[in-house]
């Protein structure tokens, strides 16, 4: 086992039992997270990114069934652990920040008590120590007048402030792994960047390993070291931020990047739109799940699932275009142009 890997997910397969059948939410996901690194998982809604981290934190709803796979935290498979045993890891070692800070705090419990609860439940000190720690955390995440705010209720806090509290709670027990599930989606753009900066600061100060779930590529470029692109319950491309942003290989990654506005996009420019919608995961399509929406799809895409092709030590993509026999298509012109522009800008600055 690689000592440097804090988390490793191996061939995770998972489905949801629903009235209309089994939804294949995760179909063979593999990824790992190195210590001190930030991994971003991107993909559109329903691609399975939240489900993946819910599996990692064992917070899956009751109708989820894990078919196969291993989730190794520091070399230890967490899937067979029971609720009590894993609750020990959760909070202590692994922490979570959720999408919606407006509803993720208990509305009838005082803020201070909610932070203290995380500390007390792990028996990391007496009540007084916990209170002192809670105040310190509130100060660290940038809550003004923490002594006064300590005894207030969540409804007295704004959205951004609540997300700061959620971050304080997540950090209360000095976790090693922090998982952020779209932590800025529900917030204003200005607050978004504050929260992102806060998470980055906390990561640096506390030497956290971070998994960042988002569909916002701007956020990815801002925070991540490595990126996993997910589509229809699979990771289709994985690489460093540079790999993904400057040398994307999977047509889905191309489409994602091309559909994102850049600073140079003028109001006349049309953004690329990915045609169609994600396949119905009750009956996952044969071959590459993205084939039906892919302009560059070849016959084989509809017949056989592409394996992960190695591009470099850090960069892998699951597309037949990387096969030695495939026609050399290359990045679409629009995207090529944009990447070149960005590279030029970076070179000059």
């Amino acid at each position: 086992m690689d000592e440097n890997r804090i988390l490793e997910v191996k061939n995770l397969n998972l489905h949801f039992k629903t009235y209309s059948g089994n939804v294949q939410a995760i179909r063979g996901v593999d990824f790992h997270l190195n210590r001190g690194e930030t991994l971003a998982i991107v993909g559109e809604s329903g691609s399975g990114k939240s489900v993946t981290i819910k599996a990692v934190t064992k917070l899956l709803p009751d109708n989820a069934v894990i078919d196969s796979g291993e989730i190794l935290y520091e070399g230890q498979d967490i899937l067979p652990m029971d609720d009590k045993k894993f609750s020990h890891l959760r909070g202590n070692d692994i922490s979570l920040i959720f999408q919606d800070p407006l509803s993720s705090l208990d509305p009838v419990m005082k803020i201070g008590k909610q932070i203290m609860e995380a500390i007390l439940i792990k028996k990391q000190g007496t009540k007084r120590e916990a209170a002192a720690k809670a105040l310190e955390l509130m100060r660290a995440v940038g809550i003004p007048e923490p002594e006064k705010r300590f005894n207030e209720y969540p409804f007295q806090f704004s959205g951004g402030m609540r997300q700061r509290i959620v971050i304080a709670i997540a950090l209360a027990c000095n976790p090693k792994l922090l998982i952020c599930d779209e932590p800025t989606t529900a917030l204003d753009v200005t607050i978004q960047s504050q929260i992102l900066d806060l998470i980055k600061d906390m990561q640096r100060e506390r030497d956290l390993s971070v998994i960042f779930i988002t569909h916002d590529l701007g956020v990815v470029a801002n925070v991540a070291d490595r990126v996993c692109v997910m589509y229809a319950g699979k990771i289709v491309e994985v690489g460093t931020v540079e790999d993904i942003f400057y040398d994307p290989r999977h047509p889905y990654t191309w489409s994602l990047l091309a559909s994102m506005p850049s600073l140079n996009t003028s109001s006349e420019d049309k953004l690329m739109v990915i045609p169609g919608s994600q396949p119905n995961m009750l009956v996952p399509p044969k071959g590459d799940a993205f084939a039906a929406r892919n302009r560059y799809a070849m016959k084989i895409d509809f017949e056989r699932e592409p394996p992960m092709f190695r591009i470099s030590d850090t960069h892998y993509a699951a597309t037949w275009l990387e096969h030695p026999d495939a026609p050399k298509i290359g990045i679409p012109a629009l995207l090529r142009h944009r990447i070149d522009e960005q590279l030029r800008e970076e070179a000059t600055s």
Binding site: T57, L59, D83, K84, S87, H88, L89, R90, G91, N92, S95, L96, F98, D100, S103, S104, L105, D106, P107, V108, M109, K110, E117, A118, I121, K122, E152, Y153, F155, Q156, V166, I169, A170, A172, C173
Partner: protein, 318 residues
């Protein structure tokens, strides 16, 4: 807050006035002889004199109101001749209250318990079984339960006495034993109502985002259910538990008759059938006060229990 309470109390007084007036008019419009048929002419005359029964109705109404507002509720005419109505009611309250409190003591914990079980086992056989019981208990009126319980457990099996034991003044074992059936009959509906609410509220709370966060903090499923979900679902529950004190008084009207309990409920029925109008109005007045007060207490208790209203809603309450 104080302004709000004063407003509510004034509104309550107006409501009470309307209720009392309506009671008076309705009772007096019911056909029947207040004095009672076959009474001696002298007695009839004396009673008509004493209770101003021959005055025009509006005049009687004014006298009645005047007395009523000086807290002179009049005296019982035929049911308990010449006893002040106030004393009659006071006499009846302890027994009714006793029964109702016993009933509440089993209703609230059982209702909450079943509700929690049903919510935690939602859509599993346990939940379905509880739901069937709930539907049954909510839809069957308490007097049907009373009659059935009395028939099977008291008459057929003979485990319990048919009627309430009244010989013992204090709370003896025999008296407690005889109270079991009426208390049960009074409780079924309440248990079902609380179960239904508790299940719905708790289920919603269990699926909320703050439950995920509390799990993320490292609380086990059990810990976060007890500390967060149940706590949150109690708030809306107050809305139905407090008025239950009132509902039980109403429910006891027929149940008390079945088990021969000389309580407030039975008094109401008797006073109406005897056209004992002072008594009827006073009893209905008593009911109205309790129900209005319980509504007021519910509204105020929200402000105490729920911090969102206590602190945040100072202005919005009005």
């Amino acid at each position: 807050m104080i302004k709000y309470i004063i407003k509510r109390v004034i509104a309550m007084l107006i409501t009470l006035f309307i209720i009392v007036s309506l009671c008076f008019l309705t009772i007096r419009m019911i056909p029947g002889d207040i004095v009672g048929q076959g009474a001696q002419p002298e007695i009839r005359e004396a009673m008509e004199e004493r209770y101003h029964l021959n005055d025009p109705l509006p005049e009687q109404y004014v006298t009645f109101l005047k007395n009523f507002f000086t807290l002179d509720f009049g005296e019982s005419i035929t049911t308990y001749p010449r006893s002040p109505v106030f004393n009659v009611i006071m006499d009846k309250i302890p027994l009714t209250l006793q029964l109702n409190l016993f009933s509440l003591v089993i209703t609230i914990p059982l209702g909450i318990l079943f509700g929690i079980i049903a919510a935690l086992k939602k859509n599993k056989p346990t939940d379905h079984a509880i739901s069937v019981m709930v539907v049954l208990c909510v839809s069957v009126p308490s007097f049907v339960f009373a009659a059935l319980l009395q028939y099977f457990f008291a008459f057929k099996l003979g485990w319990f006495p048919l009627l309430l034991e009244l010989e013992d003044k204090g709370l003896t074992l025999t008296k407690l034993w005889s109270m079991v059936l009426p208390v049960l009959a009074l409780s079924f509906g309440g248990i079902a109502t609380i179960t239904r609410y508790m299940r719905a509220e708790l289920f919603e709370a269990l699926n909320s985002e703050y439950m995920l966060l509390s799990r993320a903090k490292g609380l086990t499923r059990m810990q976060s259910t007890v500390r967060h979900a149940i706590r949150n679902s109690f708030i809306p529950l107050c809305n139905i538990i407090i008025p239950m004190f009132m509902n039980l008084l109403g429910g006891s009207m027929v149940v008390e008759n079945i088990f021969g309990i000389p309580g407030i409920g039975r008094l109401t029925v008797m006073s109406i059938s005897n056209s004992d109008y002072f008594l009827t109005v006073a009893v209905l007045f008593f009911y109205s006060i309790i129900s209005l007060l319980s509504v007021l207490i519910v509204d105020l208790s929200y402000g105490i229990i729920d911090p969102r209203i206590r602190i945040g809603g100072g202005k919005t309450v009005e």
